[in-house]
Subunit: 157 residues, 2 copies
């Protein structure tokens, strides 16, 4: 768990960098055999991106990997994965996901667990505070990122 | 159905372009209110990409859209969506997916249908032939794209 908290800090640093850029403060890191292979952060604002969430941006920054490497990986993400990012975990057979917090959003944990993925939720105040501040200041941007129509309630766990 | 076959041709053209580039021949198109918003094709080889499958490349080429637009969309894809691309469909609430073929690969159709997505399979020989030729000539590349370890059987429907 203390190792998990340390690796999560890389994801949190990414989230904070994203917020400073005017983006959505969600970050991720992929760790294999005690080494970080890469990090990423949500790029909706910065790159006009529909698919670079924290987790998918991390995988894309790393680029192509053999299937066997993903099978030994842990994916750290400051916020519980959306369906897209959970799909990436399942496609590549990533066996373990460590989540900073899931109170702001949770849409895939039971699906991941049903497919044998270990999901660990750290429930860190630092991650919750980042999202609380962001969702309060940019509700339309947040809803866009999770596919929710403006005016509808955002999806909260 | 005849409209679907016509729109699917845009996805097939993308798949063929990808194969000419040395890439994986899977293409996609997003159609809303009778207009194509964009197309895409698998970019594993061309962009060293881990997340730009046909469908996700299509969404990324289009860029940010309001949630309400995705809710009126049909996604055309030459091959049945993997878990990542199905996750994108669910994230954005795309209500309808038209599939060129699902004999080479099928990993998400029941999951999509369980979440209310209409999945139409055209089962086109043209799409099957593209994948048959590709999988036979580049089995390692194909396994990498679907997260299968070399030496293991590739996932076939």
């Amino acid at each position: 768990m203390s190792d998990d908290r340390g690796w999560m800090q890389l994801a949190i640093d990414e989230a904070r960098a994203g917020r400073r850029e005017g983006g959505i403060p969600i970050g991720a890191a992929l760790v294999v055999d005690g080494t970080v292979l890469g990090v990423g952060r949500n790029q909706r604002v910065q790159r006009n991106s529909a698919i670079r969430h924290g987790e998918t941006d991390c995988l894309e920054n790393i680029g192509r990997l053999p299937a066997a490497v993903y099978r030994r990986a842990t994916l750290y993400t400051t916020l519980s994965p959306c369906q897209l990012c959970a799909g990436a975990v399942l496609l590549y057979g990533i066996p373990r996901v460590v989540v900073g917090e899931n109170r702001t959003f949770e849409a895939s944990e039971s699906h991941l667990r049903a497919h044998g993925v270990e999901v660990v939720v750290l429930d860190l105040a630092e991650c919750r505070d980042l999202m609380d501040e962001f969702v309060a200041s940019e509700p339309a941007l947040w809803n866009e990122d999770i596919g929710v129509e403006d005016g509808a309630a955002s999806q909260r766990g």
